[in-house]
């Protein structure tokens, strides 16, 4: 019952690169590589004890951040869960500020307040980074409510994991979004596991797209390892939200390369090394670079240069983070309440 994206196949000349300009395609590759390298560096720094708390990496899911964000304008909104580095970087949050946040520095994206799970940027309409599973789903409907309230042509993308589809707020948020026709796109990043629990052990329907039927919500299943597929599906859903204020549910199938968080081994408890390795054969970066190679848009040499360019960005980010001061003690008492006129008079 899950329909497949049609906007491009119908309204645009169909090609493996969707007729997108070369610059865009190369930018996509760079974005995905940046996320991949950022996460690898984060893992390394975590191992060195320079990053604390929980740290959930995005490796393997990079096609989703790039394909989704590419479908948005700067005015649109993005909100996600704690596995937020990839979407934040792709949305344009400064790698320096993101790295500084992981290192708990005052120059961090939230001044060291939120850490890995709580990236936020008002300037980029990036609404977090939320650590209570499902808790941000109603917020996304609220953002969409505001868009419609003001009669704006915007959309809110709300990302969640497969596990989040089993909590009550999923039901309440999707029912309200469909009932009130709110311009929100709910995106399930189905990486097959919620921590150590597979989809079939946590959801009565293994085909998560069936959950859209309870809300008569348009639902599409998407290959999350192919950035073009993600871009097509999210573009259509965003377009639809902006033109008709109708919500869409996307189940984007992907895979998490790392453990759930840094404390969780990559394989063993609940999945085999073989499974992880075979999933990696379908790596989103390779999928993209192979297309771009065969379309003669890039070559091996480009890849090497890109690698260096990204490495430099990461190194600079780390250096910036390392050299930044930790938050001053008085920072503890800031941002608890916003001083308001009401209180001052």
């Amino acid at each position: 019952m899950a329909q497949s994206a049609t906007l491009f196949s119908t309204s645009k000349k169909e090609s493996r690169t969707l007729g997108l300009p070369k610059g865009t395609l190369l930018k996509w590759y760079d974005e995905m590589l940046l996320v991949r390298r950022f996460e690898e560096k984060a893992a390394q720094l975590y191992g060195m004890g320079k990053i604390g708390g929980f740290c959930h990496l995005y490796n393997g899911q990079e096609a989703i951040s790039t394909g989704s964000i590419a479908a948005l304008t700067a005015d649109d909104y993005v909100i996600t869960a704690y596995r937020d580095h990839g979407l934040a970087l792709t949305r344009g949050l400064d790698p320096k500020a993101c790295m500084a946040e992981l290192l708990a520095k005052s120059t961090g994206i939230t001044k060291g307040k939120g850490g890995s799970m709580h990236f936020f940027s008002k300037a980029k309409n990036f609404l977090g980074g939320h650590a209570i599973v499902g808790g941000h789903l109603p917020l996304a409907a609220g953002v969409a409510f505001a868009i419609k309230y003001r009669g704006e042509k915007k959309v809110c993308l709300c990302f969640m994991g497969d596990g989040a589809t089993n909590i009550g707020e999923f039901h309440e948020a999707l029912n309200l979004a469909a009932l009130w026709k709110l311009p929100v796109v709910y995106i399930i990043e189905n990486n097959k596991y919620s921590m150590g629990t597979s989809v079939e052990r946590s959801s009565a329907v293994e085909d998560l797209s069936k959950k859209g039927l309870a809300y008569d919500m348009r639902t599409v299943v998407v290959d999350g390892m192919n950035v073009f597929e993600v871009y097509k599906a999210v573009s259509e859903a965003a377009e639809r939200a902006k033109s008709t204020y109708e919500p869409t549910l996307l189940e984007i199938r992907t895979y998490r390369y790392r453990g759930h968080s840094m404390s969780d081994p990559i394989a063993g408890h609940y999945r085999t090394k073989e499974e992880v390795d075979s999933e990696k054969k379908n790596d989103p970066l390779s999928v993209l670079s192979d297309v771009l190679k065969s379309e003669k848009i890039l070559n091996e040499e480009y890849l090497e240069i890109a690698d260096k360019r990204i490495k430099k960005i990461i190194d600079e980010a780390v250096e910036f983070a390392e050299q930044s001061p930790e938050p001053p003690p008085e920072e503890l008492y800031n941002d608890v309440y916003m001083p308001t006129k009401a209180e001052k008079d």
Binding site: T110, G135, L137, A141, V336
Partner: protein, 327 residues
Amino acid sequence: MPTVSLREALHQAMDEEMARDERVFLVGEEVAQYNGAYKVSQGLLQKWGPKRIVDTPIAESGFAGIGIGAAMVGLRPIVEFMTWNFSLVAFDQIVNNAAKMLSMSGGNFNVPIVFRGPGGAAHSLAATHSQALESLYAHFPGLKVVMPSNPKDAKGLLKTAIRDDNPVVFIESEMMYGEKGDIPEGEYTIPFGVGNVIREGSDVTIVSWSKVLQHVAVKAADQLANDGISVDLIDPRTIRPMDWELIFESVRKTNRLVIVEEGWPFAGVGAQISHEVSKNVFDYLDAPVERVTQEDVPLPYAHNLEVASLPSVEKVINAVNKVLYRE
């Protein structure tokens, strides 16, 4: 000065703020077409239309969260809980998403929202529908907690709450909606953190708020007055921020304190007041602080047991006699 009911005062505050600021809207169960379960929003749908007066399904987490999300991007929602008892299914939204957003986002996003509705016991609604929950919400930094005891304060404080840039927990009383009082002509607001002296007195300080202030503490103060005991009766009006100086000042004068609250005793708001007073004006206290609270049991349906469980004039007078060492 016009005389209006608490219900009308709250209605005026919402209506005036909606006229003043088009970002303000009201969302909740039965607030629109039904005109409000307790008629506080009577006529607002007709006046402001379905865009700004929004009925919801029974999904407290969902619509509380929708309010928070809308507030993050600049609207100013008023979220009505049919009663505060039902906020317990939206508890995480209020104490995590609303209370901590400004801090967790490092100042990126504030949440200008008002959660309002009636709290405490009404008549024979039994255990799940009769809870006074102010101490739970006041426990969380990031929230403000407001509990007006009369129409004038209710209007002025609700307008302040709607203009506040932070999440405000605004707890009313179903049993007071019909009670009338004078309010000033025209526009006014009342700042948070400024308490009110309801009766000036010198023998004993009583701190109380919301319904039990009017239905119990005031009556007790009057009876005690006939008895020659003068009560300094204080209504903090806002639980967080609390007007500590006003309370300390009074205790420095009377040297005796009784706290009257509707909630349960353990870790209630009164415990905090008792602690702060003992700590800050220790040398002025001539007797241990007494608290009158609901009995430490779930509230039963039967009227006689309900009455026996809640604070009463008699319990307050006994407490006052205790701090005055009278028989």
